[in-house]
Amino acid sequence: MMNSMKIPSKRSTLEKKLDKLILALFSVLFCMCLLGAIGSGIFINRKYYYLRFDSSEKQFDPDNRFVVAVLTMFTLITLYSPIIPISLYVSVEMIKFIQSTQFINNDLCMYHAESSTPALARTSNLNEELGQVEYIFSDKTGTLTRNLMEFFKCSIGGEVYGTGVSEIEMGTAQRSGGKIEVQKATNAALEKGFNFDDARLMRGAWRNEPNPDFCKEFFRCLAICHTVLPEGDDSPEKIRYQAASPDEAALVTAAKNFGFFFYKRSPTTIYVRESHVEKMGKVQDVPYEILNVLEFNSTRKRQSVVCCYPDGRLVLYCKGADSVIYERLADGNNDLKRTTREHLEQFGAAGLRTLCLAYRDLSSDSYENWNEKYIQAKSSLRDREKKLDEVAELIEKDLVLIGCTAIEDKLQEGVPACIETLSRAGIKIWVLTGDKLETAINIAYACKLISNNMKQFIISSETDAIREVEDRGDQVELARFMKETVKNELKRCHEEVQQYLCSASGPKLALVIDGKCLMYALDPSLRVMLLNMSLYCSSVVCCRVSPLQKAQVTSLVRKGAQRITLSIGDGANDVSMIQAAHVGVGISGQEGMQAVMASDFAIAQFRFLTDLLLVHGRWSYARICKVVTYFFYKNLTFTLTQFWFTFSTGFSGQRFYDDWFQSLFNVIFTALPVIIIGLFDKDVNAALSKKYPELYKEGIRNTFFKWRVVAAWAFFAIYQSLIFYYFVIASSTSGMNSSGKMFGLWDVSTMAFTCVVVTVNFRLLMMCNTITRWHHISVGGSILAWFIFVFIYSGVVLPKEQENIYFVIYVLMSTLYFYVTLLLVPVAALFCDFVYLGFQRWFFPYDYQIVQEIHRHEPDNSRIGLLEIGNDNLSPDEARSYAIMQLPGQKSKHTGFAFDSPGYESFFASQAGVYVPQKAWDVARRASMRTRPKTPKN
């Protein structure tokens, strides 16, 4: 509970900026009204006798100009109110709702077939925020990794075994151009914790290797030196290992698979069923007496076991970090040390977790000698741990190196590729994990977040100095010392960072910090320095952090740097982080729903972030920007024509347009096309969005909704409104046809309104990147709707209304003037925009425009193709299960109905495996799958 925070309600950054725009529009409205009001106060005068200004009506009382101005102000506010795009909010909400429910939730690219989980947008008001994310805070376990340790490779006596290729190696190979043929089979673990295949070691084949003795010691070390408890039946298939860490379980499982099956433990003995030791095919049970166990801790970074063979041989097996093992090796055999060191580096670079294995033969005399000291230390009452460590040092020396193991902390599928894509998109990824420093760094390597040519800053509490103070046990002293240390470290790093920044091509920077230091670094006095520094780093890893600290780091960037943040996690400990970020993403489809329940979007796999951000986020952002700016332009243009008219009416607040025109302008004549653009506009297609992740930077920089963009729209709105008003007015000053008759106010205003509707709709077409059938229908439909409306409206006599518009359109259309003006005004109004667009594209092209041009000749069916390449494993069954998932009815809301008969869920469960279509839609879906040319092949 201490880690929980109150649930924030999230609004997107774009919407907040939109509020500012609306506020600006309100002030423009106010200024316009004030201007008009002052004008009306000045204008009013008894000399216009035909207007009969007198005190009978307050608004037209020439004796009280102030009241006139105030009342006119209110009139003008209603008159100019269309400048505030109220329908914008409704339209945007509608667009976002469809985007999230129809597009994000149904995207096949974000559908995880194995767990049958589609993406889920749990809120619809953050879609465009996904297009502007600059910082991603990711949990490690369950998000980046599968929390699955697999024995992957090993090096025995200077020889590397194991044919597997880790994700990271594949990524490297792909970047360098070569393609690695990967068999599916090698990637799938043979057993939980064991993903190793090398014929040279398996099934006793190690006997024929150059160093069979090393192999034997290696396997025995794996089988004996651990603290694992076996559970269940003692057959290799059924046994389960209980281990403190999944690494240990993986190592023991590996030993089992190599033929050294640890099946039983008693307090003093470990029983190992060894195969092929004496000769091929022979199996024997060997009990090893465990004399001492020197346990693992973070200081020692190693673990040793002294055991006695049945034949009396005394051996110390030791496994641990390479740094500590190498210090304690016996002299000589430098070749082996060197090659093993090379292998360690190779494994490390591949993102694997390594352990060195070593042994030492003990003579019984020296052992007895040592054991006395050990017992003494063990029974001491003060500083027992310290003494035990010291005693251990005495025996853990002159070790013989056997080799090393490499365990893969299995990454989620596609994580390194996804992270690389995201970082190319200008997104910085921070890993916030509760794991240890080494693990975190290891994963950062595996995910390509940190590489060897990066400058790393490590701020850790695991230093000798701190440990010393810790040992003294004075908490106040410790806190003071820690703070001081962290401060100094930060200062040092910060200075170094500044140096690197000054030099032109400095290396990329990475910061690793652990939870304890973070606690002090988040102190208000140091916070700024931490933030400044971490913003320069391309990746940041925070390890051993509490859930609350995760949230604090997130808010640090969110509030301190004003950047848009996204948090992704799968567990309850990520909830506060998910809530603290602008966008929270939960990993769904696994056990535990807290993260999903707290999230704004739920996806099944980390790699779907690429689609969620680069495709949906980017599109949503671009679309919403277009919708917002277009609404702004449209309403401004419309209102300004009204505003210009006010100047020629003696500031009386006379409407230029009929009431109905004005109210239906936003609702009918211009409503639908903008929604269509908000749904369908695509600058580049999904595949290209992912191929050119850099396009995403346009969103981070907020390219499409800068004040500069808004100003450009405002400029064109003013220009166009002037064209509408003055062109229509100026061209209507003389006789309108050969009979010499003149137009009245309503004829002119209907003419102007027609021009506005036509122009505004065509302007929309000009801003489209893709034009579908729906664009044509909606734009054509809107213009048509106007004509149909005005034909009917001017043809009927409405009760209670003035008949201003009566017959107006017919009068208008009977003159040639109408057609000549209708051609002239929209072209004159749009031609400026057109030239601007052409000029901008030519000389200052946006990146997406270049990409459009590069791929201008390619057909636009890439996404369907991508599905088949990317999700080749989507078998018809899986496709079907997806189809069922997507069917109507399955996702319907809870209606409170309860009845004890097989519901959908249980029915499907009972039918599992039986291939009978249960629903009409299901049959339909399958029929369509069959006729579709490109069905996923079985």
Partner: protein, 364 residues
């Protein structure tokens, strides 16, 4: 069920039998089409054309606009040139005093407001070019706010349309009824301020008839103003605003009123007075006898008499032609400018080197 079975089955659930399959009628193709359309929608793969505003397209569009617009502009400009128009301002000439001081102004007002004074005024005009009939006679008022809110809304279309709605004068304030609450027909400020100058035109030898029929739009005449609605109580009490109406003629026949009541959009406007059905020769001298009744002297206004012929485009209006020519000309000019810049500073279409991240790495 086999995969290639073409029949479409429908699953039905009944409590007694559980699920069972039955054949349904609709064809699989139909379902497939709906299905695919839906998938295209949700996967955002709707077929679309992707127009790219290439330099070629910009130049082509500009040139074609130019090519279409310039001839239209020239055509309408020449049509406008063919219109012969005589404009004569008479408000300052048809008044005894023309001074700018207060006294002169008062004198002007007392002259125009006095019903007894002789307001006849004679203007001699010369026809500059041959004017073919029909020649339209307009009066033009400047600085007259027919579009003022108080003015525009002060009318009652229902009253004008049918005699039954005679009392429907709520919207007509302040000119809705006379003191004893009898409604004014036609009510409202617009009708009240009816323009009432009259013109009589004659050449050297004989008077020319000004035809005052068919000067209002047919819709006004036929349906907006009733043929059985007669003026009542009109201009019967002070203040008297403008012209009076013939009480024996229905509103629909009083075309002067109809024209006046189609309120103008701007404070400077022209309204049709009548038509001359004879040709006027060039240099012919015509005499206009004006009854200068209408008070525009209270505010700074102008009264003008306009004689104008028309062509297919209407009266004299250079604006449309000039606008067309300037838009078309600008387009052609810009097209040439674009072509020149294209030659001087070409940008190859779809060159990855122009991508911002490539530009940055190139400059580094």
């Amino acid at each position: 069920m086999k995969e290639d079975d073409p029949t479409v089955l429908k699953a039905e659930y009944s409590p007694s039998d559980g699920w069972r399959l039955t054949k349904i009628e609709s064809s699989p193709e139909e379902l497939t089409r709906v299905d695919e359309a839906e998938e295209k929608f949700t996967q955002q793969e709707l077929p679309a054309c992707k127009p790219i505003l290439t330099p070629g397209l910009v130049i082509t569009t500009l040139i074609s606009i130019g090519i279409i617009f310039v001839p239209i502009g020239l055509g309408s400009l020449s049509a406008s040139e063919h219109v012969v128009e005589i404009v004569d301002r008479y408000d300052d000439a048809c008044i005894p005093s023309n001074g700018d001081d207060e006294a002169a102004k008062r004198e002007r007002l007392s002259f125009i407001q006095n019903a007894k004074t002789n307001k006849t005024c004679i203007r001699n005009l010369v026809v500059p070019k041959k004017m073919k009939h029909p020649i339209h006679v307009y009066y033009q008022l400047d600085n007259f706010y027919q579009n003022h809110r108080r003015y525009v809304k002060s009318r009652s279309d229902r009253q004008y349309r049918s005699p039954g709605s005679e009392g429907d004068t709520k919207t007509c304030a302040p000119e809705s009824e006379v003191d004893d609450h009898r409604p004014i027909v036609p009510c409202g400020l617009i009708a009240w301020s009816l323009f009432n100058d009259t013109y009589g035109i004659s050449t050297k030898d004989n008077p020319i008839l000004i035809n005052k029929k068919d000067i209002a739009w047919p819709s006004d005449k036929n349906s907006k103003f009733g043929s059985n609605v007669y003026p009542k109580n009109f201009q019967k009490q002070d203040p008297v605003g403008g012209g009076k109406l013939n009480e024996s003629l229905p509103l629909s026949e009083q075309e002067d009123l109809l024209v006046w009541m189609r309120t103008a959009a701007l404070p400077n406007f022209r309204k049709l007075y009548g038509r001359i059905e004879t040709d006027l020769e060039a240099d012919e001298k015509i005499t206009v006898v004006i009854q200068n009744n209408y008070n525009t002297y209270s505010f700074d206004s102008k009264k003008q008499l306009v004689l104008s012929t028309t062509t297919w485009i209407g009266g004299k209006n250079d604006f449309l032609g000039k606008a067309y020519i300037s838009v078309g000309g600008t387009c052609l000019f810009l097209a040439i400018a674009f072509i020149l810049t294209y030659v001087i500073k070409p940008r190859p279409l779809g060159d990855p080197a122009y991508l911002s991240w490539n530009l940055n790495s190139a400059t580094r």
